[in-house]
């Protein structure tokens, strides 16, 4: 909806203070979009993909050639400039899509699951590039299912479920608020532990075979559990955004 792909069904949508219905051209000239699907043009070479795309923004040819060179350089794709898009690895294709979304020097960059399906090396490379872009003052809107990605890249984040905003805040803030400081996961909890947890009103999720305890900072719960209740396997770890997400949206599958 943000980049005008689906018209709003209800309400109003404004970007840069302009209505997307009436000013789609002026808005789209100022945003960069990195779609989830690979929409690179397989009939064109790597370089032509950027160059031709610049044409859709009416960027003059000379300027387009210059920006193409810069972006290929920035995304470490210069050596592939004459390759076919089909020959690129997943990571390179993703970088090229990112490069393409920057061809119009956008003020707002919209990324739809930018690292889905990438290997860890490529993913980290994409993250580094995005962090560099962030430093230049570019506003980036990113949608992702990877909580690690969200914690690392986002200053402000919104968790949504079934089209509703559940929470809104910085990653650290959300973790503090909804998952405490530490997590203790206990496999095969016994009755004594369950009663202990209830008695002390400790925040928890009971998954049957597995009990998850959310510990606010410095309660010493950790030691008590370790000494008294750890029968099979216990995991002590810091809370993450993934815990927040699962607590807020529930654990059942979404299919």
């Amino acid at each position: 909806m943000l980049y005008g792909f689906s018209p709003p069904t209800r309400g109003k949508l404004h970007i840069f203070g302009m209505n997307i219905n009436t000013h789609f051209r002026r808005i789209k000239a100022r945003i960069g979009v990195c779609q989830q699907e690979n929409t690179l043009d397989p009939d064109l070479s790597v370089e032509q993909n950027l160059h031709v795309f610049a044409g859709y923004f009416l960027i003059p040819k000379k300027e387009a050639a210059e920006r193409t060179r810069e972006l290929l350089d920035f995304f470490a794709l210069s050596h592939k400039k004459d390759s076919k898009v089909m020959e690129l690895s997943g990571g390179m294709a993703r970088r090229l899509i990112l490069a393409r979304s920057l061809i119009n020097r956008p003020e707002l960059l919209i990324l739809d699951e930018p690292t889905t399906g990438l290997d860890p090396q490529s993913r980290h490379q994409v993250w580094e590039k995005l962090e560099e872009l962030k430093k230049t003052g570019l506003t980036v809107v990113i949608t992702t299912h990877y909580m690690e990605e969200a914690s690392r890249l986002c200053d402000r984040l919104v968790i949504m479920d079934h089209g509703e905003i559940l929470v809104d805040g910085s990653p650290e803030d959300l973790i503090d608020r909804y998952a405490g400081k530490n997590i203790i996961e206990i496999e095969g909890p016994d009755q004594a532990l369950i009663e202990y947890v209830k008695e002390h009103a400790i925040e928890h999720d009971d998954l049957g075979r597995r009990l998850i305890l959310y510990e606010p900072e410095g309660k010493g719960l950790n030691n008590t559990i370790r000494e008294r209740f750890c029968n099979e396997k216990c995991i002590y770890r810091n809370s993450t955004l993934e815990d927040v997400f699962l607590r807020l949206t529930g654990r059942e599958l979404r299919e």
Binding site: Y3, G4, F5, S6, P7, F24, R25, R26, K28, A29, V33, Q35, E37, N38, T39, L40, D41, P42, D43, L44, Q48, V52, F53, G55, Y56, F57, L58, R100, S101, N104
Partner: protein
Amino acid sequence: MIDPSLFSLRFLRVWERNLVVYKKIWKVNFLTPLLEPLFYILAFGLGFSGLIGNVKYGGVDLSYTEFIAPALIATAVMWNAFFETTYASFVRMYYQKTFDGMLATPLSLEEIIIAEIAWSATKSVGAATIMLTVLGLMGFVQFPVGLLLIPLAFFGGLAFGAIGMFFTGIIPTIDMFNLPIFLFITPMFLFSGTFFPVSNLPVWAQPVALAFPLYHLAELARLFSIGTNEISPIISIGYLTAFFLFFTNLALGAMRKRLIQ
């Protein structure tokens, strides 16, 4: 009615994209229009004309090859434009997601579709120009009036490109293009006064032939290459213009329904 602000010259950039791609493969593509008229002229002219003698058309006596030569250009215009906005556009739209990428830019969907139709007409011009050269050298086209076949190819290409684009907008899978080709293009190819004059058809079938856009294109092609035709060129030009506008409008509606969720 479609909002006129959705159209601008920006569509030329999409047209240009297709040109960039075509420049890589033109050497293969240009063989067909070069060889096709030669094959037809050889097959029909040498093999066939001995059996049928001359054709009476528009009050003139024409050899069979003279009669079909201009129609060959018209059919090439049809095939080139129709194949471009059906198979080729469908691949770009459905498999390559090329239109999705374009829609993230200030281009409107309408501009993309218009550009595709204009490009298909451009391919018709390419094919027609090569055929015109071949047939001209063989003496089947009068010059300089024959040069009018070049703009005519673009004009005719728009009409066939538009209806092709309409089918692309509504067809569920690429295999199903067989249907419009078998039910619409092939009968049109055969019965539009291309290989025999429409006046040879039974009286009841003649109006059907007159409804075919290829009939009007072949008529105009004959007028421009040998100076003879059956019906007023005004009617043919009017019919093709209306056909183009009608199907462009339908194509835009169908593509909007298909691509904008």
